[in-house]
Symmetry: C2
């Protein structure tokens, strides 16, 4: 049993875990063209903001690697730009996708004047590989800091998938669990199934089971009474965006979970890299909340579960006010209230 | 558009709404034999504690109605007893089933000495019909008292199905909504889908839509953030058992919803007939909580949604402590804290 490698360079191809097969089976897919990478991102075969960014980086390498060694820099850049635009359209709303493409673009822009097309090609690969390694390092650092917080815990509860399958390897909320396992401390993880898309039961349970970590799945609505029974030592979740005051946007259901943790006097931790913090937002009230397709709720399992034509409320995220958050776990350490000051310092340092 | 008749006597048969067809279609089934009634209860074609009790009562009439008018009382009683035992096995854990059978039995025991088999047969029918009518009357009374509480509300939120389809017609939590509709006040109802069995999206949404009442379905985990937005004026749910101190056992997820209502300062009402109160229990801690089959969580939609062999926590109910309950709505009126005294008086009066 070991941690899954969500995405990696496998000599001649990008190897991904095809997440649409989970939990029925574990399929790896070797991707050798940018067109197949586009489709893998679009169809959620690779998902999770950090993983999508890395996939886009390697996708750019796949797009240019057949460019002739003797070709001109100008022709290289034409091909490069065309594919930047192409990949950006795979999931137009995924911020990390455009962030990663921008990063590759900036790297190439800084080199183009004085380089050959061969060295530019290499630079695209190196940038993708760098993003992957930075993500791993950031995950490990979050894991180490989080492990410090959880070292007296035996049982934790998480929501959605903020694990290795959303990133290159360690994840955010699950990173401390993996670090603990390396040190022969097996935390028992309760995983909310996380309606409507069931990332908790499909993906979190799968990756923990694959890593030999004990995991129990429950419906989201059973978490509050589980916490009330005092059988969970801590709640730990990821984040999609964190405002300057520490308000946290994360997968729908996180706020209710934070209320239940507070009522049971169980610590509520949020694990996220500093790239998740948005200093342009004063509070969580300013974070836009995406509402998604009705069909995720009314026939999300291939069968109709609500009457035809019924109205649906299906927000993808909610906002947990900072006063319900015990600590924020970042790659630069654990941030405690008052969050305004702690976040400012972490982002500056 | 009108309220559905969950169960009624249709001249020569018991007509039920077959709830296993919901929400795809509305099917009525005319049941003419006790064997088919047994199977309808066992397979959840008729469900909800009060409705099951009524179904069992009419099932007993179906069992004896072909008994010859000239037959002996002794032979009648043999047939009667055999079928009491038979029906009790349809869902051995449903308290209302044995309660209803006991009630029919007591009625017959009080008569047997001096009656003919023809009049005993009639008494079985009358008792079933009486249970149905009492349930309707109790639902209407709960509806009237609840309407008084909700008369300034525009939008309410409910969980699971404590509507007409769990009873003869009005339901408990939804009874005030139906009474309001009769008076041309259309409350907008948010209905939690209620994992794992989705009674909220399959059944509550269906019966409200059929009655022309506006309804919006949401995943259970979206209720807390909806409440935080202050767009809901009250939460109203049913109950499976209420202890002497007002602690409420109800469908899993009710406790988390009560916490979210409290955080948003939204009133949290519980509607239930007095037969739901259990004076033998001092607090909710003594209420046994049924844990159900893993498969409801891991493949409840005909498709596997969690890895094979994963552990599952699947309690069917939770307990909401009385201090989170704003009021209890019964057929004898609205009970307010301190509940110990209010409940004692209502049960005595």
């Amino acid at each position: 049993m070991s941690r899954l490698k969500t995405i990696e360079w496998a000599g001649n191809a990008v190897r991904i875990v095809d997440q649409t097969c989970l939990p029925a089976k574990l399929c790896y897919e070797d991707i050798t063209t940018v067109e197949v990478m586009f489709e893998a991102i679009r169809a959620l075969r690779v998902r999770g903001a950090p993983a999508i960014g890395i996939a886009a980086g390697f996708g750019m390498y796949l797009a240019v690697r057949e460019f002739p060694e003797t070709g001109s820099v100008r022709d290289f850049l034409t091909l490069f730009e065309k594919n930047i635009d192409y990949l950006a359209g795979a999931r137009p709303t995924a911020v990390n996708l455009s962030w990663a493409l921008q990063r590759v673009k900036t790297r190439i822009a800084g080199l183009a004047e004085k380089e050959t097309s061969a060295s530019l090609k290499r630079a695209v690969f190196d940038e993708a590989q760098a993003m992957l390694e930075e993500d791993r390092a950031s995950g490990r650092a979050i894991g180490e800091h989080g492990f410090g917080l959880l070292k007296d815990c035996e049982t934790i509860l998480t929501h959605c998938n903020a694990g290795g399958l959303a990133t290159a390897e360690f994840g955010t909320a699950l990173a401390p669990v993996y670090v603990a396992a390396e040190r022969n401390k097996k935390l028992h993880v309760y995983s909310d199934e996380t309606r409507p898309l069931l990332q908790g039961s499909r993906i979190t349970a799968f990756e923990l089971k694959a890593a030999g970590i004990p995991v129990t799945v429950l419906c989201d609505n059973a978490a509050a009474s589980l916490l009330r029974k005092k059988t969970v030592d801590a709640v730990i979740v990821g984040a999609d965006r964190i405002a300057s005051n520490g308000d946290v946007a994360n997968k729908i259901g996180t706020y209710g979970l934070a209320l239940a943790a507070r009522a049971a006097q169980v610590p509520f931790y949020v694990a996220a890299p500093l790239s998740t913090f948005d200093p342009s937002l004063a509070t969580g009230n300013e974070i836009p909340i995406e509402e998604r397709d009705d069909a995720e709720v009314t026939c999300g399992f291939g069968r109709r579960t609500a009457p035809e034509g019924v109205d649906v409320y299906n927000p993808a995220f909610d906002v947990t006010p900072h006063d319900l958050v015990t600590a924020l776990i970042t790659e630069k350490g654990v941030l405690r209230p008052p969050y305004g000051e702690a976040i400012r310092k972490a982002l500056q340092g």
